[in-house]
Amino acid sequence: MRQRFEQLVDANGGRLLQLARLMLRSASDAEDIVQDSLIKLWNHLPELEPGSEPAWLTTCTRNACLDRLRAQQRQSGLLRQAWTVDRELDRHIVGDGPAAHATLFEERRRLHAAIRDLPEPGRSLIILRDIQDQDVATVAEALDLTPNQVKVYTFRARRALRKQLEDRRHEQVA
């Protein structure tokens, strides 16, 4: 059981952290949530069917992120997120690289910001399907959707994301 747990931690830890970081602004909140989700996995492992753990972990992490977002909204409103926290996330996304990476840094920052602004379930679908390339069945199970809903909502979320990126680019040019 312990060996299975270690394998699951190693196979899923990184992608869960990516999911949490793309949903939340604070990198430390994301790490806390991933740590909690993995500890919960250990506690629930005897009950879980082998093979169902990735979807279970995704659901657990996503729900915790949504709870955290709701709590943050209640406290201060999404529009009043601290700039320093945003910087902290950016540092985690790209790393403290040299100035030559400034363009890439800025593009990714814009992309991450646009993903975070997508409404649910579009945001989760973009992360799970397009960024992490998880199969339709696993995502459908994790988000409690049908496979066709996963495909259609992903398509619509991608369209919304593309429009958002284009609008921001136009604003910048203007």
């Binding site: 931690v9 952290l17 985690h92 973009i126 960024i131």
Partner: protein, 185 residues
Amino acid sequence: MNKSPESRSNETSDTAERTSQEDAEFDRDLAREERVLGGAGLADDAALGADRDLRRTLAQLEAPQLPPHIRETVLDTGRGSRLPMAWAAIAAAVVLSVITLSVADPFESPGRPGDLSAQDWAQLSLAIETLNAQGQQIAQVTQREVGAHLSLPDIELPQMPLRIDALPGSNSFWRWFQPSAPQTR
């Protein structure tokens, strides 16, 4: 104001029309997504081509590594959390054995069987029965709650209830008291 059956009928027909329109959009978007996922034959549709390009860009975002301190914390929790449950089961069994032995030890009380009154015998019997029942209950609960999670190879929890019946003190106890039972009754 109450709505007339006609307005309700119009509403139903509106809803049906809307649902049908939504279904049509759903099917259309499903077909488009299939094309984007397929990736071929998108040259004639610039929007779908842009969708595919965005999907490719997104796929290039690599997942970060789980920081070592989080990995260690999680694995340490995994290592530690089962052990106390196993020890709790062992501790419960030991406590039960000690209680049973201390009550059932024939060398503890120097009195003779014949000295017991009927009331003493009844009280003692009740105490022993209660202890036995509670002990078995504790063992069953412990087995149910802990047994499924136990990975220690040397512990044979399924046999715990039987072991309680086979405790050394209980045999001596009954052998010591039973001959006198009919007399006192």
